[in-house]
């Protein structure tokens, strides 16, 4: 069960990865932007992605992933400081399965991931 964590903030990636490890997910890979994420997708079962990142943002990443029929069913959670209604709707329309607004608590993140992988 490999999980890909995408965020341009290295410390935010570490927070997310550590909270996943704390609830038993050991196989975690990381990427710093959408472009890197596309190159890191092999073997990945689930993705958590930020929205605002350089090179390729999270929304473009989600659209690109969903355009690939082989990846159409992969669970994706967006984890972002973008909490406005229009942005949430746009992300859901692009194909994210769940949405976590920063700031978040670690237990909320862990619960959402567990719920999605059930």
């Amino acid at each position: 069960m490999r999980i890909l964590v995408v965020d341009d903030s290295t410390t935010m990636r570490r927070i997310i990865s550590n909270s996943l490890r704390a609830v038993g997910y050991e196989d975690i890979v990381e990427a710093g932007d959408g472009q890197q994420a596309l190159e890191t997708l092999e073997g990945v079962s689930m993705m958590l992605t930020d929205w605002n990142m350089p090179n390729m943002d999270g929304l473009t990443l989600v659209k690109t992933v969903r355009a690939n029929p082989a990846l159409a069913g992969m669970p994706i959670i967006m984890v972002t400081s973008e909490g406005a209604r229009d942005e949430v709707m746009e992300a859901l329309a692009a194909g994210v399965n769940d949405y976590i607004v920063k700031p978040f608590t670690k237990d909320v993140l862990a619960e959402k991931v567990k719920g999605m992988l059930k």
Partner: protein, 155 residues
Amino acid sequence: MDAKYINPFVVAMVNSLETMLNITPERGTPYLKREGQTQGDISAIIGFAGASVTGSVALSLPTPVALKFYSLMMGEKVYRITNDVQDTVGELANIIAGGAKTELSKEGITFNISIPTVVVGPGHTISHRNDVPVMVIPFEIGKHRFVLEVTMKLE
């Protein structure tokens, strides 16, 4: 800058620190920035732009506050401004800007926010994107003061 546009930034700051760091800062009274006034030792600046608004927000911290925020967020102590501390301050600014954006969108003010730029060094000045007055929103944690600087220009 209308006071009703200040509050979303205050709310976002308090909410971000309470949720991510488990601390509640004291808030002071906002005031207009004097020209050339310097703030903290490390600042993260985020620009925003939309159909009817441009602006920027900066989170500026003295070194002890930056180190405290890092240790609370990451659960490890650090004794100087490392790359990771810079990253954390940039990400906190991103979270605060996003929170303010969410609040302002309820007033019909919508915009996109930029990736944070982080500046380090005692006595640095912060450049904002507009030729409009800069509001300083002071906060305090322990004995230490830190600020948000905000400019907003509505078309």
